[in-house]
């Protein structure tokens, strides 16, 4: 058999995590470099996957399949379609930046403390999360997916609870309590979702007799396996609930602002740009493929919820006083768009949604990381504590502005493409919802520009005076992201080419066709 590329892609960071954790306490820097190198190597592997993947080939490629638990027909099955490839590439791409951005986030507070281990732990945990996320993107066996979908929570819990943002107005103690609250909240929300999903997974096994996504989907497609409508709906809800919590969809969103607010900027990026994507990705891969009828049945409700998320998230973002919370609510709004696109059941909508996952990952990373640099300089998360930064640190302000413009999906930057696709896709089937969602772009402009105006423009605040501009390391983090934003905004074809076939497949699973235009215009 050929070289297990997918396994390698997931295992490499895991091994790297162990190695990083094993680095002796005194050699912090070595641990950092090790983690960075491992993440880059993973990126290389992901690139290989990207190259080896043939968009026009079979649906699932680079597949691996080994018997695992024979009694329950659990198989260790991996395989990637276009969507998964895109998500893996995104993950592998973002992690090095996350590591580089968090270079000093886990350093000991008092310098020269010899027995300080958390630094190693921080980077090890990040790599661990990467490994789990990647394998959950690859798994085509529901059981395997579930295991890693849940296991992800453990390292995330420690990352949120253990390495919180040191910038806190009420001092370190208060910060610690807030952190643990946020971490526990994150854990509980996702655990509840996970447990409900577990029930659904078991139910699926009872109905289908095995866990293999491909087999079940196939059986569903050619009618050899027919579920009772009610059963299918319950199972669908079980799965969807977990994904909606992870995504997060209104009203299951309240864990995200706390988590992002309390954790360091890189971890916040990890949450919203990488981990949450598993939820939306799983909606595409599992909900739609396993339960087509139920998906169509639930579509109206889900669309409404997504719509609420869009508007609600944006409005709350406008109302925030804390930079990170603002970004968090903006993300909620964006996740609304993604889910909207997925369940609009049009090729534009779903391609747009997939593209949106990638672009949102990059844009949020850019914005959040720059915000993190800003916060680390001033030591406060409150918007009111800033002002006139643009005069002191123009580069920082410029990058921040570009990140913001990406967030409000300005044409020419990547998010615009995906957002417009989602809107068109939705509008084609549900005009009213499409129009209401379009209003979201005004709100997006509002909260982004208000944030920029309050922090960057105006007279220079005393505390901001002498704030250093971006350092080389930080530029190295931000510049590639911005370049990527512009490139994907101008030439998204590479991604769409990979994604489109997979989306076509998914649509055929749910027996949906794109609505045809009324007038067949002569092209």
């Amino acid at each position: 058999m050929s070289f297990p590329l997918l396994t390698a892609t997931a295992v490499l960071p895991a091994l790297g995590a162990i190695a990083t954790a094993a680095v002796p306490a005194a050699r912090r820097t070595a641990a950092k470099w090790l983690a960075l190198i491992v993440s880059l190597a993973t990126l290389v592997l992901a690139a290989v996957v990207l190259v080896r993947f043939d968009p026009d080939g079979d649906r699932y490629q680079l597949t691996e399949s080994h018997a695992w638990i024979k009694d329950f027909g659990v198989r260790y099955e991996l395989g990637v379609d276009g969507i998964a490839v895109a998500m893996i590439a995104l993950t592998a791409l973002l992690i090095p930046f996350v590591i580089l951005a968090g270079w000093h986030d886990a350093d000991p507070l008092e310098t020269g403390s010899k027995r300080w281990r958390p630094t190693q732990g921080f980077f090890a945990l990040i790599l661990l999360v990467e490994a789990m996320v990647i394998i959950s993107f690859e798994a085509t066996d529901v059981f395997v997916f579930y295991i890693f979908f849940e296991a992800m929570l453990i390292p995330m819990y420690f990352l949120i609870g253990g390495f919180g943002d040191r910038a806190h107005e009420h001092g370190e103690a208060a910060a610690a309590t807030q952190r643990s609250y946020a971490a526990v909240k994150f854990l509980l929300y996702n655990l509840v979702g996970g447990l409900i999903m577990l029930a659904a997974v078991i139910g699926l096994y009872v109905v289908a007799g095995n866990f293999s996504l491909t087999q079940i989907a196939e059986a569903r497609a050619n009618g050899t396996l027919d579920m009772a409508t009610s059963t299918e709906r319950w199972l669908f809800l079980g799965f969807f609930f977990a994904f909606a919590v992870k995504a997060p969809l209104w009203p299951l969103h309240t864990w995200l602002p706390n988590a992002m607010q309390e954790s360091t900027a890189p971890v916040a990026v990890l949450i919203t740009a990488v981990v949450d994507k598993v939820g939306t990705f799983a909606m595409l891969r599992f909900c739609l493929q396993l339960f087509p009828e139920a998906s169509t049945w639930a579509t109206p409700a889900i669309l409404v919820l997504a719509l609420i998320s869009i508007i609600y998230g944006a409005l709350l973002a406008v109302g925030q006083r804390d930079i990170k919370r603002l970004v968090a609510y903006a993300s909620i709004s964006h996740f609304g768009f993604i889910i909207l696109g997925i369940f609009a059941m049009t090729s534009q909508g779903q391609s747009g949604a997939t593209l949106y996952m990638v672009n949102h990952g990059i844009s949020t990373a850019a914005l959040m990381l720059v915000a993190g640099f800003l916060i680390s300089r001033r030591g406060s998360r409150l918007i009111a504590d800033y002002g006139g930064v643009q005069k002191v640190a123009p580069v920082l302000a410029g990058t921040f502005l570009i990140g913001g413009l990406a967030t409000l999906s300005l044409p020419g930057l990547a998010p615009f493409v995906s957002e417009f696709l989602v809107l068109v896709g939705t509008f084609a089937r549900y005009p009213v919802i499409g129009i209401i969602a379009t209003v979201g772009i005004v709100l997006a402009a509002l909260y982004t520009l208000v944030l920029y105006q309050r922090t960057m423009t105006g007279p220079v605040k005393a505390e901001v005076e002498g704030m250093p501009d971006l350092r080389v390391r930080e530029l190295v983090v931000v510049a590639p992201l911005i370049a990527l934003l512009i490139f994907l905004g101008v030439y998204p074809k590479p991604v769409t080419d990979i994604v489109n076939p997979a989306v076509k497949q998914t649509l055929s699973d749910v027996q949906k066709k794109d609505p045809q235009p009324e007038v067949e215009a002569s092209k």
Binding site: L316, S351, L421, G434, P459, D514, Q516, A521
Partner: protein, 657 residues
């Protein structure tokens, strides 16, 4: 030849990239790079123009396909350019006026430490604007559309340390965003209706679509146009946009960007032709705006704001014309071009005056400046004559044609629209004369009174940003101004524009050159006003003279008070933009604030509270339950025993049933 089209955009884009990423080492030469690249783009435009003239009118349109942009299923967006007569007109206007204003800015921004970035933004604007007019499909146009929005945002807020500037920039972008919603919805409608949104296919297929759909599309496009071209009800941002440096006001908020709406409507001519209701709404919007702008322009004492009002009203003319259909399109564009010349000239003049006066913008503190800055006076004067439609100057030709067309619409509508247009002409004459008189004639009201420009509350030295103004005024920034003529680098562009504003109209109209030029694209129908064309022209001139006379009576004969009198109700309303901003503030801003606050509260207490409540409930319940564990072996034994009993009962029951 086609391949040159991309070059049009590439040149300024390159400039923007270089200047914005170049860093401080480019500060010395940055402005030259920007100007040269803008000029290069103009040259390319001219070359293409020459080439275009070489072909026969029917197939002058050129296409250039670069690459497929967003291909998803039936949704095919390409990056492709279309250069026809209409686009060409804009290209020449944008690059031409743009280059001139680059030159002007070299002088105007001389002492601004961030001049390099200023030019970078200007180039960015040029690129976006060219993309807007060269795109061959609506989505790519949308990109340019928002691009110019971004550029205008950056340039309005260029002096970001001024909160007023930052706010104005944000406001401009937001209001434009509202318009953009219209545009994107229009695109979606096109996609669902025609399956495409490229100009060619859509405009060909209009015949097959239902009128309702077309009306919807038209109205959405109109909304977009309102946002970009500052038409009622989305006009509120233009006045504040004057916070930006004057060259910006001249280029973006007078000559080019604000006219994009007109371009959009004319470009979508076929859609509007097929949707009369949309056309009617368009004409109404235009008419209302041209009155609105004119009235506002009469009351403003800030010279730039007054000019902004006039811009608004002039664009109102264009929109009105565009709404008239085939009889109006050409004239809309023609007025657009001439207006581009004279309004740019006027703004540049205003800028020249301002920095001769320590950035004083209050006309009541001007007066009698014609002797101090003769060139400015002359160029400004020519522009003035042009805009009020003085016979023989370009404004006369274009505006008169529009008024004719308005009458030619026929029926009561025709009379109403024509009447409004005439009235507008009169008011235009009035407020422009007012500006002219208050600025260049009368006694020198700036004598012995310090002018600390209201435009900058902060104590930054003027050298920070106000270019030539500062050169000899840093010391006297707070003292009595010393009016003086601007350096040549600034006056030359003004002269060129003045020439344009004098002759352009005539050049276009003689032998209907312009009509023949645009007809293949927009189509043209000769409109016949019920009262012959001559009568209309005569009345236009008459009302013009009337307006001038009134202004002379009020501002020429008596001295102008330095402090603005309270004024009539209408005046006060006009000073506050007819309370439109206050309305927005009270309804939208306040309402929005309350909404968001309450939502934040709801999110914290309700959505989050439910979850935390369940958690607390669980805790309480378990707290109660653990009381049962009293630790006495005997009580445990009781439960065991009871359990055993229950088991026996169960087995017995099982046996029984």
């Amino acid at each position: 030849m086609e391949n040159l089209i991309a070059l049009l955009i590439a040149a300024p884009l390159l400039g923007a990239a270089v200047l914005l990423c170049g860093g401080r080492r480019l500060d010395a030469v940055g402005h030259w790079i920007g100007t040269v690249l803008a000029a290069a783009s103009f040259v390319v435009g001219v070359v293409l123009f020459a080439d275009m003239l070489g072909k026969d009118p029917e197939n002058r349109a050129m296409h250039q396909f670069l690459f497929s942009w967003i291909p998803v299923g039936g949704f095919q967006a390409d990056v492709a350019f279309q250069l026809d007569q209409l686009s060409m007109t804009f290209v020449l206007l944008i690059t031409g006026v743009g280059s001139l204003i680059h030159v002007y800015s070299i002088g105007y921004m001389e002492h601004d430490e961030r001049r390099r970035r200023f030019f970078g933004y200007l180039n960015l604007f040029l690129a976006a604007m060219l993309l807007l007019v060269l795109a061959d499909n609506y989505l790519l146009l949308y990109v340019g559309w928002e691009g110019v929005g971004l550029a205008s945002y950056l340039l309005i807020g260029f002096w970001q340390h001024k909160p007023s500037a930052a706010t104005a920039a944000k406001k401009a972008f937001l209001v434009n965003r509202v318009g953009d919603v219209g545009l994107s919805i229009a695109i979606m409608l096109m996609f669902t209706t025609f399956g495409t949104f490229a100009f060619g296919p859509v405009l060909e297929a209009t015949g097959e679509a239902t009128e309702g759909k077309l009306t919807a599309i038209g109205l959405m496009l109109l909304l977009a146009a309102c946002g970009k071209s500052a038409q009622v009800p989305l006009q509120s941002w233009l006045g504040d946009a004057m916070e930006g440096p004057t060259p910006v006001s001249a280029l973006i908020h007078a000559a080019t960007m604000v006219t994009a709406g007109v371009y959009l409507i004319v470009r979508s001519a076929d859609i509007f032709n097929a949707a009369p209701d949309a056309q009617l709404v368009t004409t109404v919007v235009g008419a209302v705006t041209l009155l609105f702008g004119a009235i506002v322009g009469c009351a403003k004492d800030d010279i730039k704001k007054a000019l902004a009002g006039s811009t608004m009203s002039q664009i109102g003319y264009m929109v009105l014309a565009a709404g008239l259909g085939p009889i109006g399109y050409v004239f809309a564009i023609m007025h657009l071009v001439t207006h581009g010349f004279f309004k740019a000239g006027l703004f540049l003049g205003a800028g020249s005056v301002m920095h001769g006066m320590n950035d004083e913008v209050d006309m009541r503190k001007y007066g009698g400046l014609r002797t101090y800055m003769p060139i400015t006076f002359i160029t400004f004067g020519l522009g003035y004559l042009a805009i009020i439609g003085f016979p023989g100057l370009s404004g006369f030709f274009s505006k008169d044609k529009i008024i004719e067309a308005a009458f030619a619409k026929g029926g009561t509508e025709g009379w109403i629209l024509g009447g409004v247009a005439l009235l507008g002409a009169a008011i235009t004459a009035f407020y422009m004369t007012r500006v002219m008189l208050m600025t260049f004639f009368g006694e020198e009201r700036w004598r012995n009174q310090p002018t600390a420009s209201p435009a900058e509350p902060d104590v930054e030295p003027a050298a920070e940003h106000h270019g030539a103004a500062a050169s000899d005024h840093v010391a006297a920034a707070t003292g009595e101004p010393h009016p003086h003529e601007s350096p040549r680098v600034m006056t030359i562009p003004m002269i060129v524009l003045a020439v344009g504003s004098v002759f352009a109209g005539g050049f276009f109209s003689i032998g209907d050159r312009f009509i023949h030029w645009l007809e293949p694209v927009t189509g043209h129908a000769h409109g016949h006003p019920p009262i012959g064309a001559a009568a209309v022209t005569a009345s236009t001139v008459a009302v013009m003279v009337l307006g001038v006379g009134l202004a002379w009576l009020q501002y020429g004969r008596r001295p102008v008070p330095v402090v603005a009198p309270r004024g009539s109700l209408l005046t006060r309303a006009a000073r506050r933009d007819l309370y439109q901003d206050d309305f927005n503030h009270v309804v939208l801003v306040r309402g929005g604030e309350h909404l968001t606050r309450s939502l934040v509260y709801v999110d914290h207490t309700l959505v989050d509270g439910v979850v935390n409540g369940t958690a607390a409930g669980m805790g309480g319940l378990s707290g109660r339950l653990r009381r049962i564990q009293n630790g006495y072996a005997r009580s445990y034994a009781v439960s065991m025993f009871g359990g055993a009993a229950i088991l026996i009962a169960a087995t017995l029951l099982m046996r029984a049933v």
